[in-house]
Amino acid sequence: MIIYFLRHASAGKTYSNPTKDERRPLDEEGMLQARYTGRMLANLDVQVEQIISSPLKRALQTASLVANELAFEGEVQRDDALRPESEFAQFQAMVARYRKHEAIMVVGHNPSLTEFLTKAVSSASGAAHIEVKKGAVAKVEMNGRSGTLQWLVTARIARSLQASSKASSRPKTSRK
């Protein structure tokens, strides 16, 4: 099973009111980050069977922009296990529910997302230091409960890679 870990993109400043903060949307930079990350994944021919997002607006918006770029026709699932404050055990339980799928994408927040990623790819003793910036995506191949980090790409890399191919507004993949 492959898990793509995606952190929500740029969404301005934190509100002190937690209810209001849950509804904080992506800012314009965040929209662009998510689209570029999504397009990069599409160019890599990434296929996921499920996209699961934290129920917070900035994560849902990131998920839906990336889903569109991936031409993902399904419904983005919401799961509390991806909220910023949730525990690794909750995350593991959620992943177990999706274990029949070959590839899924999870969209969440820091600190929990980085924690999940770190714990998923390191054996019990070693704690890895991985920085997951906003809009960044990591590919992890799971083998049972432990995974291997294949790559991690930040939104800035995704965007700069595509700057040169801007002229073509869409990939012409259907023609041979």
Binding site: L26, E28, M31, L32, R35, G38, R39, A42, D45, Q47, K57, L60, Q61, S64, L65, N68, E69, A71, F72, E73, E75, V76, Q162, K166, S169, R170, P171, K172, T173, S174, R175, K176
Partner: protein
């Protein structure tokens, strides 16, 4: 008059014929004899048909033009001319659809107290309702995007509703921006409003334009319009090279989702600026842009039908006839050892077929089950029957067609699931779709003999569609047939060809040759003055070889009556070529899907059912089965009840003339109206008998000729 039979003028263009089929569907939306919500549904069907036409046929044509293919069909129309034809006809058609919606259906719905409101029509309660609805249900799911030329246009999904907005920054004298909102499929396209007076709806698209102002803070919305794109949905598989069909279908499926845009539908009152930008973005020619005078996604009017609980505005529901076994037969197998069973769906319930397959799990005497699956539905009892049979440690083999159009994703899921459950899953022959509908059970019977039992169908193993598709099922224990079915399964799973599949005829091996030989045999009977007549019912008739054989048969005097629901390339009634051929199409409540063939054969009548149309793709590129109906009682039912009813239809039947137009026959004064589908419902409910079927209906030229022949015959006597 001695034109060669491959003269292009003797063939109707395939796409033109398809477009006139869809016009017949739209006619049903106009027909006031149909219940109102059914008319709305017919409009929605015509729209979803057109979607598929663009996704597959138009996309394929544009691709051929781009790649420089010059191949044309038997009508010799070039690809460019075909594009012109499609462009002209589809625009006229779409105009007609919206005219039907705006001028006929909307006013009729309003007379019934069902209204579609616009924002300005809402009362304060309704306004409060939508404000809350947008806040709670809509807003969390939407991602408003602004587009500027410096970044790529966001991707929009195939056939998904989108809103385009022209924006201007407040407090800044800059240029205009475009905003795009793609609307997730989970949101209903039609929102029911609270109403004191009746049933009120509002289109989601209208709600979104209202709500947009709140999503684009800091911008002024100059104008807004809903739009929808249709993408190329053809699969391109290079099968010979693909080691694993499952893998390559999955990859292709994924690529299909990224297919090029072939059509843009957009609100007619869109600002030219938005229209221009979208057309440019999707790289479309002018004719590929359709300005719609109403909701951009008419196919979603299905929601109307579903959401409106007004049974009096829908077809009266009917109860399909259940298969009843005589007391002397303890189960269906005992009955099948005595006689064959034929079921005519949806008039006869599909449950008998489901039971037959489920017995593989539930009946301890059944040893094995082999099954083809082309299309079936979610939570299909057929799929669960396979899984349960495997769990009961029966030997279960499924031949699953992965490439059934638009169902690929589902079929891949099933393939994986079935394999997990211990079913042996095969994907058929490389390069050939498995389209035949077969099921084969092996059972230890109480008399100590091990026998095979087969189900052969004209339709898919899909209990949902079997409620509105007409199909024939044949259940039999005839050793010749079941042994041939067994050989065919070997062909599908091991590619081992048997020397003969008689009494079946199998495509792509000998089905085309058998069909041509049967028509030829009828031609010889006619030449020798023996009785010669063909009645053939199918969905589409396009194969040039078959059409030429039919022309020759007509020239020899064979009386040919074709009941072709959809596309037909044959031109009937051409003097010297096809004057003995009539073509009629029946479009009605149920989708006509049966393939039935009748040959008079000099008096020794033959009848068959088949999974194949007379189309090149069925005859040469798919695995199909033509199966004889041998039982005399069943033959009589096919001929005197089913075919006779279709030939007597004077309500839903439309005749094809030699110019490619379809027309209703004016009914004779005093003649009662007779609809085959209504009659068959009444028959199933016990309210009619075959004796109620009137004389067959014939178009004028043919009728005159038959009268003349009868006079001549009478004079001879």
């Amino acid at each position: 008059m001695n034109r060669p039979l491959d003269d292009p003028s003797l063939y109707i263009n395939r796409e033109a014929s398809w477009l006139s089929f869809n016009k017949r569907v739209l006619e049903e939306a106009h027909d006031e004899r149909n219940p109102l919500l059914e008319r709305v549904k017919f409009l929605a069907i015509s729209a979803s048909n057109l979607d598929e036409f663009f996704e597959v046929r138009v996309a394929g044509l544009l691709q051929r033009i781009e790649e420089g293919f010059v191949d044309s069909g038997p009508d010799a129309l070039t690809a460019q001319d075909e594009r012109e034809l499609i462009s002209r006809e589809t625009h006229l058609f779409v105009d007609a659809q919206y005219e039907c919606w705006n001028k006929k259906l909307l006013p009729a719905l309003e007379r019934e107290g069902i209204r579609v409101l616009e924002l300005k029509d809402l009362d304060p309660d309704q306004e409060a309702f939508i404000a809350e609805y947008c806040e709670k249900e809509v807003d969390p799911l939407l991602t408003p995007v602004t587009v500027d030329p410096a970044h790529p246009f966001p991707r929009v999904l195939n056939k998904a509703l989108c809103i385009a907005l022209l924006l201007k920054r407040k407090r800044r004298a800059s240029g205009t921006y475009m905003g795009v909102i793609t609307v997730p499929r989970v949101l209903p396209r039609l929102v029911r409003l609270p109403s004191k007076t009746g049933t009120d709806y509002i289109f989601l698209a209208d709600l979104l334009t209202y709500h947009a102002a709140r999503m684009y803070r800091g911008y002024e919305i100059v104008s807004a319009a809903s739009f929808r794109v249709t993408r190329n949905s053809n699969l391109y598989l290079e099968e010979e090279e693909a080691r694993n069909l499952l893998e390559s279908v999955r990859t292709e499926l994924h690529k299909r989702r990224k297919g090029d845009v072939v059509r843009l539908e957009i609100d007619a009152d869109v600002s030219t600026e938005i229209a221009r930008r979208l057309q440019q973005t999707f790289e479309l020619e002018d004719w590929q842009v359709f300005y719609t005078n109403g909701p951009v996604n008419l196919s979603r009017l299905f929601n109307f039908y579903e959401l409106t609980e007004r049974p009096e505005l829908k077809y009266k529901s009917f109860v399909p006839r259940e298969l009843r076994l005589p007391a002397s037969s303890s189960n269906i197998f005992a009955e099948l050892r005595k006689r064959d069973i034929m079921l005519h769906h949806p008039y006869d319930s599909f449950d008998a077929v489901v039971d037959f397959i489920e017995s593989a799990a539930s009946d301890p005497d059944v040893i094995s089950l082999k099954q083809t699956i082309y299309r079936t539905n979610r939570n299909s009892p057929i799929v669960s029957a396979l899984i349960e049979a495997a769990a009961a440690e029966k030997e279960v083999t499924a031949v699953l067609e992965l490439k059934a159009r638009f169902d690929e994703a589902l079929n891949i899921q099933w393939a994986r699931m079935l394999e997990d459950e211990g079913v042996q899953v095969y994907h058929g022959l490389v390069g050939l779709k498995t389209h035949c509908k077969l099921s084969l059970l092996v059972r230890h019977d109480p008399d100590g003999v091990t026998r095979r039992y087969a189900h052969i169908g004209t339709g898919n193993y899909n209990p949902t569609t079997s409620r509105f598709y007409t199909d024939i099922s044949l259940l039999t224990a005839s050793p010749q047939i079941t042994s041939a079915v067994h050989s065919l399964f070997n062909y599908l799973t091991a590619y081992s060809e048997a020397p003969s599949y008689s009494p079946l005829a199998i495509a792509p091996i000998e089905l085309a040759a058998t069909t041509l030989a049967q028509i030829q045999r009828e031609t010889e009977h006619a030449r020798a003055g023996r009785p010669a007549r063909i009645v053939a019912k199918m969905n589409a008739l396009l194969d040039k070889n078959v059409i030429q054989a039919l022309y020759r048969a007509s020239q020899a005097g064979v009386e040919i009556e074709l009941i072709v629901r959809g596309m037909c390339s044959l031109r009937p009634g051409v003097p010297g070529i096809s004057e003995n051929i009539t073509v009629r199409s029946i479009v009605g409540r149920f989708l006509e899907h049966t393939r039935i063939f009748y040959f008079e054969n000099g008096g020794d009548e033959e009848m068959q059912i088949s999974s194949a149309d007379w189309m090149p793709r069925n005859l040469y590129e798919r695995v199909e089965v033509l199966c004889p109906v041998l039982d005399a009682t069943l033959q009589q039912r096919l001929k005197d009840e089913i075919l006779a009813a279709y030939l007597a239809d004077n309500v839903k039947a439309r005749f094809l003339d030699r110019n490619g137009r379809y027309f209703h026959l004016p009914r004779h004064r005093g003649a009662k109206s007779f609809s085959a589908q209504d009659f068959l419902i009444a028959l199933a409910e016990g309210a009619a008998t075959a004796a109620d079927i009137p004389e067959p209906v014939r178009p004028p030229a043919r009728a005159a000729k038959v009268r003349k022949l009868k006079q001549v015959a009478a004079r001879r006597v």
